[in-house]
Amino acid sequence: MGFTGAGIATDTVSTTQLAPLGFELTVPDGDNGFQVWIYVFNDDAASLVEGTICARDAATTTYDAIIAPVDAPTIRVMGVAQHTIVAGSYGFILRKGLGEVLADTGGIAANLPMVVGGAVVGRADTTGVAATTYAFGFATETVAATALATCFINCPG
């Protein structure tokens, strides 16, 4: 488990801000390489649960995250929640590395790039995603609709 010098761990969730928003924490993940976590505020009315794709809130210059709206552009994706961050709380989401992503209604197919889905907020889609698409992740397994898939994540936002 990675943690900062101040003792904030990747799974620390709090109602008070413990680090600057946008602060990045890099931790080793065995033979999976490194994970890069980014510190955000959940500005959504709903909780960010494991696998939820998080996007920059509208009209926001700071790292205020919301559940990604359907069809949100990849450049807006900040990371993917790996544990619950309730509304109004602060915590780390996974920006880069191996993690879990929730599938949209079309499921997730292995070995395809993924984008924000078009049916349910905060979910990923691989259906019809071309190799030339600007994607934020790559699926390592196939899962059915609404399930968690282990994916390589690299979020630009």
Partner: protein
Amino acid sequence: MPTSTSVSATAEAELGSTLSTNVTDSGSRTWIYVLNEGSVDLTVGDVAIRNTTSTQFRVVIATAGTLIHALRVVGVAQHTIAAGFYGYVLQRGLGTIQVGSGASVSDTEALTTGGVEVGSVIKFAAGTTAPACVFGMAVAGISASGTGNAFFDCRG
């Protein structure tokens, strides 16, 4: 050592070297040191792209009306770097972008090169624009021919 706003006629750092600064709660800003090898000055909000056949970080202002793959986009100027001068452009983080005269851009819209004027951007048009050209996103509405705030992630 040059700062993020330094501009000089001679190189003060290795081309391609990066510098990080921080904006509270907005995350890090990554700057990359370049030579403006074009004949046109880079001014605030201008997109800088790798010059043709260049193996080094020698940039020119983005071509007018032309979509350019995001892997060629090196950064966005945040101050004037005159033609033939060296300085830092913003590679990643929040900064100022110049929107072309063709149309305004709304908050959260993705951005690509290809604005009407050199160095300017247009909003991403799904179905007509290659997604691989996206390198930024507006974080506020920006009028046509205006400058405004955007988030960039330049991969060039």
